[in-house]
Amino acid sequence: MAGIRLQRLGKVFGATRAVDGIDLTIPDGEFVVLVGPSGCGKTTTLNMIAGLEVPTSGDIWIGDDRVTDWEPGDRSLGMVFQSLALFPHMTVFDNIAFPLRIKRVAPAEIERRVRAVGDTVHVGHLLAKRPATLSGGEAQRVALARTLVVEPSVFLMDEPLSSLDAKLRVEMRTEIKRLHGTLRSTFVYVTHDQAEAMTMADRIVVMHQGRIQQVGRPLEVYGNPANRFVAGFFGVPAMNFVEGELHAESGGARFVAQALGLSLPGQRLGSGPAVLGVRPEHVRLVSAGESWPAAVSLIEPLGDATLVFLDYGGPSSLVAKVDAEEKLAVGNRRSFTFRRDRIVLFDAATGGRLST
């Protein structure tokens, strides 16, 4: 069992700063998801923890050991790769037995442990097969079994589900999370899929351009984003952004944009260009109160809810997520408002969070 600590960790490839001096502490037994768009440095960070990339600067601690310059094999971790990296010239049995053979475990013991772990992840019946003959889900389980068999204290996973179809991905997602519940080992999971991050993580680490943007529990990151990047990264459909101006008022502030203005009592925000962010589920169709008129330009029924595109006179339409029962048609004129307590404001220039 071991936690992980990254200290001012950096990696430079030529002129590119892939990872820009990040600090992160992952307590023992936590399921941490590194998430971000491709090229954000999440895989490089994972590879440095694994020892597959040598950091340009900074240190990595696993448990009480400074492992920065240790060989990958000495760090007692298990890793599942994006391509799964099953050895094509070996049977499933030999694939799972490979790490045990390297550790010179006795043959009888290898046999026992491979069969045991094979049963745990339901690949017991595949042991004689070659990886090329497995289905995507089976190959996924074999890769998992090969990692599990040595009982590592840290699991590293690099987009392990990206090769699976949507349905299987959701299944495996649940299974990996359940596995973490049983093992209580430290999991570091890399993905670009915000749904995977939200559903699996104890804590999410959002990365962008080699830097950590925010670290927090899934609902915290979703509901209380640290900046505009994080706000836009999570949520389907994405958060609505409205560009406008903030004006300080007595007893609060007022946000004014094209065809839209609302007062924010009790908020001390200063003045200047700002961006208002509101998630589709916090845009409400109303008939009374402070609201703005709009025309329904598009309707996307999801089944459990309906997405409504509202043309209110601004530069782009707003998306509202409304009850599926709501009677709507394209061309309808409706009034909308925002859930005030869920509005977030960002500095227009830096993208940093403004509201308290």
Partner: protein, 288 residues
């Protein structure tokens, strides 16, 4: 449906190909037939398409141990020693080239050893015509006392084979996903263990193909062998070349026998390469 009715085009194409095959294969056919003919049948008119009295006498003649003789206007060349010499220089030269070249290819593919243009520089060595390097080699070899030695010819074949080996092995090494090696290393495998258990099995077919390919090249190389050897070392192409003009050496039967013996390994190895090439790339089923 692209084609209907009588398939005219394939018929024409196959006829042409068959005709071309006949043109190219006829000399080989004639050589093999002559090698089984008695002396009386070598130059009869009308020509005999098959030996009427097939014989192995030509093979016995060239394969008996001893040195080559020259009597009654006919030379009898013995080829047991040339076969041995060819096997030694082509075999050892190709083997070392494959060992060194695949190590180079691996280190370039994985670590970029030597810089981005390294394989191209190596390839440019191969673009120099052998005749250009033959004479300088003689000068060096005299100084180094390598003229007419196995070591000398092995070194030359090693140098000329290396570019081919590096380029062929580059393709095979790059077929092995680097994540396989990384996975093995995370599991605790040393770099050597990774090479032995992952890279070697996955490139084995490539190694075989590459070895066979450069072996064939070296087996049939004439110019450098001629220039750099004299009496001590004598490869099969040199021996074949020793048959003089029709005036002196009208020993067509033994000549054909030697030709057949020299051609046989090339044909066999050629077919082996085809088989292995297919196997070599069948691991393309890897999930990427």
């Amino acid at each position: 449906m692209r084609q209907r009715g009588f398939p005219l085009f394939p018929l024409v194409r196959h006829t042409l190909l068959l005709a071309w095959a006949a043109v190219t294969l006829f000399p080989i056919y004639w050589m093999v037939m002559t090698s089984f003919k008695q002396a009386a049948e070598w130059v009869t008119w009308p020509p005999r398409w098959f030996p009427h009295e097939p014989t192995l006498v030509n093979y016995v003649k060239v394969l008996t141990p001893g040195t080559s003789t020259f009597e009654l206007g006919r030379q009898t060349l013995k080829i047991l020693k040339p076969i041995g010499d060819s096997l030694i220089v082509s075999g050892i030269g190709s083997l070392i080239a494959v060992l060194l070249g695949s190590a180079l290819a691996y280190s370039w593919a994985r670590f970029g050893t030597g810089g981005r243009s390294y394989p191209y520089n190596i390839l440019s060595i191969r673009m120099v015509p052998p005749i250009v390097i033959a004479v300088p080699f003689v000068v060096y070899f005299v100084t180094l006392r390598l003229l007419d030695t196995y070591t000398g010819l092995i070194l030359v074949y090693l140098a000329t084979s290396l570019p081919y080996v590096i380029w062929m092995m580059l393709a095979f090494v790059e077929e092995v996903p680097v994540e396989l090696e990384r996975a093995a290393r995370v599991m605790g495998a040393s770099r050597w263990k990774v090479l032995r258990s992952v890279v070697l099995p996955l490139t084995a077919s490539g190694l075989v193909v590459t070895f066979l390919f450069v072996f064939i090249l070296n087996w049939s190389e004439l110019l450098l062998a001629m220039t750099l050897t004299n009496t001590e070392v004598s490869t099969i192409p040199i021996q074949l070349n020793k048959f003089q003009s029709a005036n002196e050496g009208r020993d067509y039967g033994p000549q054909a026998a030697i030709g057949t013996i020299a051609t046989l390994p090339v044909v066999v190895l050629g077919f082996l390469i085809q088989k292995h090439l297919l196997r070599g790339f069948s691991f393309g089923l890897l999930r990427k």
